[in-house]
Point group: D2
Chain length 350, copies 4
């Protein structure tokens, strides 16, 4: 694909933590070209490099540096908009963009549970994308909203999907140890987390419990019918930079042996042919002390979830530990992958 | 009690991490006086202050500095021996001391599951102490071994005991986030844990599952019959200095409301009249983001366990977070408390 | 001294980090009684415990919990005001309070370099206090402002004062490694400092260079004539909770041997008879790897500065490492000590 | 260059921290092929992947996994040997290898100060390499030893070399904040460094002071005459994973302005045409809060040193902060670069 064949996109909330990661990932994307950037009124009118307090390890992409930031009230030319907007404004703004015919690929939580807004992890529920056709804006002008799940939900979902797909899930108990980058910037004060554990992340447990059921749900006339299993989550913040660790116990409807589960983990993910989907969607590491944030955070360029320590649980059937990069697989990379799916399924053509 | 009325004691394994904490706690104890110190052959013959690589925040107690270290083969004059011996030598050494008539108050894991060795948390199962009378050495010469549980087990046990005592326990699921001091010194390499989570601590999960049942068990002719409930644990190391955090879900035999549980937490612990037992054995903190290691580690001088976030669990009945100081309440302080119980129950008199 | 003989004081900026430490230290002070609390308009009218986001390890003092917070425009009854006001408002507010006859004991930077405002470390320059008599407000109504130096300056000043007092200072080169608590709350984002070093703290190097000269200056008609030596500082933030470490090289006017310097460190600090001045103002630790934040932060309840590693420097005469608690000795404790000096010198009586 | 045209090499001390980094860097090197691996007797006879406790972020290179580890007494076929041997054995072992005709490219400290052993940073003193011809082993059979400096010395040397080359150095004062990876594995206990600073690293200050003079020395008949300037160093360990930060003050013989110094930094490094020498050997970052470990550790794949904060010093002429990756530029990458220089200068042909 030649440079000028790339699809122009905009990044909403471009100066925030998720926005920066979106800019970083899209800066070298073979299919998308960042044409427009949107942020708050305070940033509007300034060039990106002049305004952003850049925190990504790689430098600001050259072709983005001089883009002048727009506000949410400015009209946009790009059809696809990646939204890393703050939840305080994302609700209305994303709806308004869809009304105008844009495809909003959002990482924000606001519309995740809306009836006809799909909550997509392409390797799990690509078929859910079809329900966008029931969004009013789609009917009117082809605009729609697609969301990706919360960061810790994505890690958990990718870890237990093989068991769900092959044997059916009954119960899932998850305890998370989440990285500070999940709190954005400036986010978690160092005084609160250095050498500490914070056993609470506002709204996070509810998100995991609610979103997992929708992701594993079935498409029907009225939207998604949630999966019929129980989820219970406890969420903690730990002094780790990137990557959420999840201790999960689960029981399946059809009982399965350890080898069967490992086989499901190894083989249940289809090759999707999407640029950002890693070679291994879920990798099982047999070492007794893995996964670990420092060792596994960059697996599959941050898009591979790593599992380990599969062993029997005396209460539910099995225990294991799952880990994934929260700002790549769990946020910006998830949105980019969703956009790739949208293009592949032909939604750009309407 | 006058200085010279104090009971002479020895600390075995006095140069290790647990040994140092024992020395630190006993150095100002109103009832016990450190008379002898025991360590490996390498340390023997040297003064304590000349040999120990002291890591405690408070200085080496004055009256201990010049004590010349003995080896495990040297005879000891003290009746009560506190053992922080390494598990590689504790098994044989502790038995040998008991054979010679000593009372061994051990923090080591070796004898914890022996039939007639009680696994004591005085506020929970002080009555278990009586089974020492069935130890062969006791019958012979009054010597016996008493153990305290593993550090994470103690925190968990103190947190769920009110539910157990009032309503009966059915199932307990625990995920721990454990401090580096639990690994001793030099212990966990900084390369492994700085900014990281290690989802594995060798043998820890088995200890929790096995020991909790024994602690909540009932005394009979053949020793302790374990409590009839299921425990499942997952253990993690996190970059926290002191204090283990435990996310626990549990179900009770008799169903209980939140207020009933909080009432049990508030009232089920008896006042024991032991010097090292804190005013509040288990404190419930109603803030949504507590307990936290940094804020709660010194509650009750490290002897109080703090609980918080009691809320319904969709799978078991309730979820909550518990926290306690692993080297005080979970190790050295636990041993000291056991010794106080032994004295109170009159075992020194035989 | 009976409770009702205590001197009533107010804490300005009571909800901030320094304010909280002041409340914590004054809550158990034998001489002062917190009668009033002042904060921003947003906090005014609320009780302290209902408003403050308390971050101190010890609980809010009982006698302070229910005090209703006032604003800077409210009249105050206390004569002595401890100021932990933010620099953005401290300048005007502190002047206004002095105009009204209050004694303002400030930790803020605004008035530190004013001609007739002394910059006091009681163990070093108690005699400087007399220049307050030249403040206009003092002449008018007995009100005046006294300041303590910046946190890293205090540690450095206490470390090199013995060399200054005995041998005269020529040059001082200081490189600091400063704790996150120096940045207040929320202060330093965890994303910036976890596993990192930030080689810059705005304005800090200038403060050290300027303030040290004033502290070691001489009192004259026109205020303080700065000490005649050169200071060069480089300041870094490191992931340490409390306590600033300073690597210092210095040369003296009169050459001194190592034993002479150690003798100066040991003996040059007078006993002041002030409640908050520690038994040892500066303690030299002979271990090759001390001072260390974790081991020395609570020396003298946070009021003792620890020095170590005194050795020849190939460029200046000597190198050493100094360390002190930045929010106790370096901020709130410094202000409290200044107030004790003010009382002792009889300034309350005018 | 085709695979089979690569030069076979061996890695000595292959299981240690430096050895692992050497294996990691050489695993994808275009010029060198790891043919042999050497470790202690305990590892001998085992495959690399079966024996090594691998701590590198990237996996063990495929072509190295199955190599069977040899001991230092086994004969080696490779001419070039990279030595990450522990200092306790490196002295004798490296000499013995040179005696047998091998070219030993060592990161160990043992031979660094030997008269005819050059201490090489190719971008600074490539001409020093010629003195190996005076080593007895070279004369006999072409074997010789070449060393790279200590990790913190390399960062400092690369940072001040532009000033040295253009204006002459007079005095250099350096205070380091060094990463834990410099201590090897298991290395620094987490109990010692988590949330702490250790103001001492055994032998490190002496190494910096001694080695810098040799690196900047001049080649003569009797070996290297050290540079005529004074160095004073103070070394600290900080809780940072990778990368040493150095606060440096220096004075030059010929006085220079800021722009002249920045020009020297920008232009004084020649393009060497060596594979591992980065595009920018020393990069100046103009932001007031750079360099920082987290942001700059991977500059030039770890081979670029980053400088910042150049500003006047009241005592010496200038202050600045320098930073570099200690295990890449400061150890394994330094050795690899030296080997590339050795090949380029034709030493393989004798």
């Amino acid at each position: 694909m030649k440079e000028n064949d790339k699809i122009d996109v905009a990044v909403l909330g471009c100066t925030g933590a998720v926005g920066q990661k979106l800019v970083s990932l899209l800066g070298k994307h073979p299919q998308f070209n960042i044409r427009e950037l949107v942020a708050s009124d305070r940033s509007a009118g300034k060039t990106y490099s002049g305004r952003v307090n850049w925190k990504e390890p790689l430098p600001v992409p050259e072709n983005v540096k001089d883009i002048v930031i727009k506000t949410v009230s400015d009209p946009l030319e790009s059809r696809i908009l990646f939204s890393g907007l703050d939840a305080s404004v994302a609700g209305e703004a994303e709806s308004a963009y869809a009304e105008k015919g844009h495809i909003v690929v959002s990482n924000s939580r606001n519309h995740r549970m809306d009836a006809f807004v799909p909550l997509i992890i392409p390797e799990i529920n690509a078929s859910h994308l079809a329900i966008v056709k029931k969004q009013e804006s789609y009917v009117k002008n082809g605009g729609f909203i697609v969301t990706n799940p919360n960061c810790s939900t994505i890690v958990l979902a990718l870890a237990v999907y093989p068991a769900f797909a092959r044997f059916g899930l009954d119960k899932v108990m998850a305890v998370t140890m989440q990285a500070i980058s999940g709190g954005g910037y400036p986010g978690v004060p160092s005084m609160d987390i250095l050498g500490n554990v914070i056993p609470y992340i506002g709204g996070e447990e509810e998100k995991i419990e609610r979103e997992l059921a929708k992701i594993f749900g079935t498409v029907g006339e009225d939207g998604i019918t949630p999966g019929d299993f129980i989820v219970s989550a406890a969420c903690n913040r730990v002094p780790v930079r990137d990557g959420h660790t999840v201790c999960v116990s689960f029981s399946t409807r059809k009982k399965a042996g350890r080898e069967e589960l490992l086989d499901a983990i190894e083989h249940c993910y289809p090759a999707l042919g999407l640029y950002s989907s890693p070679e291994k969607v879920l990798e099982y590491n047999p070492s007794e002390d893995r996964p670990q944030p420092l060792m596994d955070v960059n697996a599959g360029k941050g898009m591979t979830v790593t599992a380990g320590r599969l062993r029997p649980c005396g209460i539910l059937d099995w225990k294991m530990t799952a880990f994934g990069h929260n700002t790549v697989r769990g946020a910006a990379g998830a949105a980019v992958l969703n956009a790739e799916l949208i293009v592949k399924q032909g939604f750009l053509k309407k």
